[in-house]
């Protein structure tokens, strides 16, 4: 009898807590619509670009909603998740397969609330970030998308396993993890800072890749921008931490990286980040890039997990010149160095400053300082390319001609020579990456 009473009490408490939690989430204010100059397009918007096009680029819709080699915004790009594959939808104004028949309300709900025509969206669509956007901005994006030629291209069916194929289940996920709040400017900060916060959060959704996720696949807010692994690549720590983040990068380095994908003396954007710069960031105005920098500088420093410290002046690089390497520490297996001298030095050079293009410089790059070689393996296997101002910079992939042992050897050599790090790349790991998603 006593036990039943106790159990009943416990159930009652759980129910009360659950009801209170639900009520709290449902009644929580969404905040006012963000207003200019924070929301909306840049104040220095170029004449030849509409507000909607600019915002579409700033929100980087094209990167996901375009299949490799496909028509921009026509969807179909697959996203491989641990529980199946989902496909980005067609955003062209086609009435049958695109957004041609969508009302303003429906479009705003999809972008800000994650509720689409078939029910709840999966948070691969970053509505968790877009929710901060103003209604005006979303409708400007819709107007731009509607100005594009309609493309009749059905989106492939998602192939998710049970229970993840039950869209209604996302309602519970939203309840637990989705904070539907509009962006609110911080009046203690400058307009530029607020603009940067709006660009990095609601529009650019940097955190969706650069913030580690918790067990429920939601962004861990206390680790905002602290860096993690995404689709087999590294999204590095971009907090203001001076050792692990971008705290010791100069404004010029940040500006170069964000606006053209190369930070002199630091990294070049590759893989998924190269796409972000190509589709989105290179189109931002100078004022907006500076706003982003002002905001990033203020992001709480976090060390993150398994992060990379960058040695910008490794001894082996300092001792090398363009033609010849300095004395490397003797290695047991010269295989990696042999591969580098034959296939890599022609562009990267022994002192890593890049021969034909600055994009080939390796000194100070995060990927050659990460002992796990996560991004390095991907670049070696698949290559990377970035198109800036109509000019393509390309590193060819060596996956077709190099064995797993070759890739591991050259990766560990590069980590030792250019990062002064003891690389831990193994052939088995390369084999795993080879079979994994491209990105």
């Amino acid at each position: 009898m006593k036990f039943r009473k106790l159990a009943g009490g416990a159930v009652a408490i759980v129910v009360i807590v659950a009801v209170a939690f639900v009520a709290y989430r449902l009644l929580k204010p969404e905040g006012p619509e963000p207003t200019p100059p924070i929301a909306g397009a840049a104040q220095d918007l170029p004449d030849d670009m509409s507000r909607g096009e600019y915002l579409t680029k700033a929100a980087d819709c094209a990167a996901c909603h375009t299949e490799k080699g496909g028509t921009p915004f026509a969807g179909g790009r697959p996203f491989q998740l641990p529980f199946g594959t989902i496909y980005a939808t067609n955003l062209t104004p086609d009435e049958e397969t695109g957004i041609g028949k969508w009302s303003d309300e429906a479009f705003v709900a999809a972008v800000r609330e994650g509720v689409g025509s078939e029910g709840h969206l999966y948070p691969a669509m970053p509505y968790t970030s877009y929710t901060g956007m103003s209604r005006d901005d979303i409708l400007a994006i819709k107007a731009y998308l509607e100005s594009l030629p309609p493309v009749n291209q059905p989106t492939p069916e998602n192939s998710l396993s049970f229970p993840f194929n039950q869209r209604w289940g996302m309602a519970f996920w939203n309840l637990a993890f989705f904070d539907e709040t509009r962006f609110t400017p911080d009046s203690d900060q400058s307009d530029a800072w607020n603009r940067g916060a709006y660009l990095a959060g609601p529009l650019g959704h940097c955190g969706e890749c650069h913030t580690p996720r918790n067990i429920g696949f939601a962004m861990q807010s206390h680790d905002y921008l602290a860096g993690t692994e995404v689709q087999g690549w590294k999204a590095y720590n971009t907090t203001s931490d001076s050792l692990y983040g971008i705290g010791s990068w100069s404004d010029d380095q940040l500006r170069g990286y964000l606006s053209r994908g190369h930070a002199p003396g630091r990294s070049s954007a590759s893989g998924p980040m190269a796409e972000v710069v190509e589709y989105s960031l290179q189109h931002l105005t100078d004022g907006d890039i500076d706003a982003l920098i002002a905001y990033l500088r203020s992001v709480e420093p976090e060390q993150g997990d398994r992060n990379v410290t960058v040695n910008v002046t490794p001894a082996a690089v300092e001792a090398s010149n363009a033609v010849l390497p300095g004395d490397d520490a003797p290695v047991e297996d010269p295989h990696g160095r042999r591969l580098f001298e034959g296939d890599c030095a022609g562009c990267h050079q022994w002192n890593g400053i890049g021969r034909q293009t600055e994009y080939a410089s390796l000194g100070g790059s995060s990927s050659v300082n990460d002992p796990t070689g996560t991004a390095l393996i991907q670049v070696l296997l698949r290559g990377t390319s970035i198109e800036i101002d109509g000019v393509t910079q390309r590193m060819p992939g060596f996956g077709g001609v190099y064995s797993d042992t070759d890739i591991a050897a050259v990766a560990n050599y590069v980590l030792a020579h250019f990062g002064d790090k003891e690389g831990t790349v193994t052939a088995d790991e390369v084999a795993e990456r080879r079979a994994g998603p491209a990105h």
């Binding site: 010849l324 034909q356 000019v391």
Partner: protein
């Protein structure tokens, strides 16, 4: 307008700034000694010097040589080291088909300018990016050593 010097004489170009330097050298300046090989900086056949540094001209945008000095195989013999290298190449009968050789010589000259008496390891490090389909590598190595010896003797 992009202005630069090629083998000591002034040049100006106002076409597409992203055109590869190799296109300019071969098609505009009529300096066809520099060859097109792979087009992705992997074979070394198009090697020229920019401000004395060896560079693959097939991937170098012509805009990037603005205000700089370009030297090609055509002027190699006008420099003491280049002259010695070419003599060593002739004496050793290095080329077979010859297609890669202007690139090989430009890389060898850059190596000897950087290190007048290179070891076999140095030759590997500096020359491995220059591929020879006829596999004349042993003769290339011998010729570089021979030029280095003459260089030491003359010095």
């Amino acid at each position: 307008m992009i202005t630069f010097t090629v083998n000591g004489s002034s040049h100006a170009f106002d076409g597409d700034p992203n055109m590869p330097l190799l296109w300019y050298l071969r098609d505009e300046a009529d300096l066809t000694g520099t060859k097109f090989g792979c087009g992705i900086a992997m074979c070394g056949a198009c090697t020229v010097h920019i401000d004395g540094r060896p560079v693959r001209s097939c991937l170098t945008p012509v805009a990037s040589v603005d205000g700089r000095s370009v030297e090609t195989i055509e002027t190699a013999e006008n420099h003491p080291i280049g002259k010695l290298v070419q003599q060593a190449w002739v004496e050793g009968q290095v080329p077979q088909c010859g297609y890669c050789q202007s690139g090989q010589i430009m890389s060898a000259v850059a190596l000897l300018k950087t290190k007048p008496s290179p070891t076999d390891d140095d030759i590997d490090a500096a020359m491995s990016g220059n591929i020879c389909r006829c596999a004349t590598y042993p003769r290339i190595r011998a010729a570089i050593h021979s030029a280095a010896e003459k260089l030491a003797y003359e010095a």
